[in-house]
Symmetry: C2
Subunit: 399 residues, 2 copies
DNA sequence: ATCTTTTCAACGGTACGCGAATTAAATAGC
DNA sequence: GCTATTTAATTCGCGTACCGTTGAAAAGAT
């Protein structure tokens, strides 16, 4: 356990104040004091230090209290956007998405590279990622030296703490020190994180879980991922491992173990389609789900039944997750949602059937169709989170 | 978030010191200082306060360092057993087990009541539990006023924070405020906890997980339970809910949802036996597993195949848990282990098959056949844990 | 009896947070 | 136009926690 000394005390309160400012926009010291339960004295001291470090900025204009604002006007404080820059990336099998954000998490520039990278050698992937990061940074009118941290979100089993990729559908090899590799290439601190964790944090910071301290997110893409928010923190497995939902076993079939990924993975749903023609081409280019949507509208029975089967499998899996975590909300994201009603309906039905009666009504299912940018923004949030948290580990925030 | 002030700081360090003393037996101040990274000054101050409060005791004799003990002999410190008394109980469908322990968790007296209580009205159960607690306390030569906390461990979905039982196989009703009821009856603070959580803490404190900070425990009894230790803390679902493994869905069968409990629950395994005769009698009396063991030794094929099926189901479930939590160790406990090799072998095989390749070798499976006392002792540990932790919440430890 | 070694308590220094008093900045009223 | 009022933020003094250093106490070794 960490030993508690005055330094830690200050770090905790400092983080608390900084996070309050981040979450509640321009905010006056008095209100920070109310929200954090810290005395106005302490808030003043801490905000002075934050101002000194350039992490926040005062704003005199916006005192928008009740019309008749009597006494001394409040000085609103907000994050200094220029305090830091980070790059967030979503690395998927058929596309790379990058964003550069400021200290607030606002996107300064984004870049999407619709290229297929899975099964490429690591060197090639690293090349492409490096190129994308550099390009996106330039687009934002910055240089790599201005960037504090890069966070890469990718599917699979990611060991965040060590920066190793234990296994990923887009890498041939296992146990790759991708964070180390990219840190060397970019000469900028680079971390990796599960894409599901990234978008979980995105929803906590900017999306549909801003109001919650606990939450579960399920990502349905090529890979099926899980993110758990527990007590305002990303819950990572024992060793900082990410969860990989696709590996969940649904049952023992005649041909051995039936995993969720074999029922509800993107390629498995689409895989039953003819392997040639326009649709196959679309799949190869990563537009599979869009086409699938059209085909479902046109009542393509093969696809509809595949979608229904996938929905059932996911619904059951979610019920199991709810059984374990009992979260107040479950957010579903990912390209598979585009399959539309047949998929969603069977998912909902299977969930309703599979969720234990004692937990019925505990968790609310929310569907979210964010763009890829949002995932990348989540990765950026992970990077920012590390910057925020740094006072815990070292002496001061990285500047 | 909790605001950090000197009081919290001291509470943290105090807890840290107290926990170090608990874990590392009689221990000198210097060694506490080494382990906690606190200065000797601070350790002296804190231990003085603990001595003052009567929570720990000095022991001058036992300086068992290297033979040639040169300078001033160390004063060993240890928990004062008399600092508190708690009652822990395991409440199962066919038996009640109570223990009274001291502040160290050592058992002062134990009491087993082999009576069937499931499906009895709440009032009757409460009566029996009340009686058992009182009797066990008297057996320890104490009065209820000497007892600081009572902790009842029971199967099902338990909301520890509020003391409510959302659902339990031994209660007809749902959402019972059992902690409140028993607090009133006993006039002593009473808390409830999932039996699985109780024995998880028991293993962390006294058993096969003393060396670990992260761990998963699976309890196989009438009900299938789950305990997760994360960062030295019991991981509870969002609302302080316990996990109920039996509700996990293994698949969709022809007759609807197939839950783990229907494959591996104690009554389901034994349920295929003739409902009359000596065996049925044994089941009714809660000796089912012992008899089953004998029958399996005698190569009863019906039972063996039931055991194999159950083992497979549990093995798959464990693989899924490992997929989610990636713990270094999985401890299995409970009466079903008595089924012996057919069960354990099929469990191991199914697990090996179902665990994702990327996590192979991460988790070690450990089987543990502790007695019921150990479960009750775990419940007592939960109670003690609350006493230890109290400085976090209030001003000082409950004395 | 004296020396050596180790433990532990005492003293001064620093950092933090808090409450009360003080200063700052704006409006309301005369 | 001036003062009173109101609200915000800062300053000051106090208490407490931790730490590093110093010195006293306690035992075996010489």
């Amino acid at each position: 356990m960490k030993t508690a000394d005055p330094e830690l005390m200050r770090a905790i309160n400092r983080l608390n104040v900084l996070d309050t400012i981040r979450r509640h926009g321009p905010i006056a010291r008095v209100e920070i004091s109310e929200r954090t339960q810290l005395s106005t004295t302490t808030v003043s001291a801490i905000t002075a230090s934050l101002l000194d470090d350039g992490l926040i900025l005062p704003r005199h204009e916006g005192d928008i209290r009740n019309e008749a604002a009597r006494g001394r006007p409040r000085v609103m404080l907000e994050l200094n956007p220029d305090a830091a820059r980070v790059v967030g990336a979503k690395i998927a099998a058929n596309r790379l998405v990058f964003v550069v954000t400021d200290f607030r998490g606002d996107v300064l520039s984004k870049l999407t590279l619709p290229i297929r990278i899975d099964r490429q050698p690591i060197g090639v992937i690293a090349d492409l990622v490096e190129d994308g990061v550099r390009r996106c940074v330039v687009d934002a009118g910055l240089s790599l030296e201005d960037v504090d941290t890069v966070c890469l979100g990718l599917p699979g089993v990611i060991e965040h703490r060590t920066g190793h990729i234990r296994s990923s559908p887009i890498f041939r090899d296992t146990n790759v020190d991708f964070a180390g590799e990219m840190t060397t290439r970019l000469n900028t601190p680079t971390i990796v994180e599960s894409d599901a964790h990234a978008i979980t944090l995105a929803h906590h910071w900017f999306g549909k879980a801003r109001d919650l301290e606990d939450m579960v997110l399920i990502s349905l893409e090529q890979t099926l991922g899980l993110g758990v928010l527990h007590d305002n923190q990303l819950f990572r497995g024992a060793g900082g491992l990410s969860h990989n939902l696709g590996d969940l076993v649904l049952g023992m079939g005649p041909r051995g173990v039936v995993r969720l990924s074999s029922q509800a993975g993107e390629s498995e749903i689409l895989g039953e389609q003819p392997t040639s023609g326009r649709f196959a081409e679309a799949i190869r280019l990563g537009r599979g789900m869009t086409h699938a949507q059209a085909l479902i509208k046109a009542e393509d029975n093969t696809l509809i039944s595949a979608a229904i089967r996938a929905g059932e499998a996911v619904g059951v899996a979610i019920a199991n997750i709810v059984t374990l975590f009992a979260p107040p909300r479950v957010i579903l994201v990912g390209s598979s949602l585009a399959l539309g009603e047949p998929f969603l309906d069977s998912l909902r039905n299977a969930y309703a059937l599979a969720v234990p009666p004692s937990l019925k009504g505990v968790a609310e299912l929310v569907f979210d169709d964010s763009t890829d940018d949002f995932w990348a923004q989540g990765a950026a949030a992970v990077a920012l989170y590390e910057l925020y948290e740094s006072p815990w580990n070292t002496t001061g925030p990285a500047l």
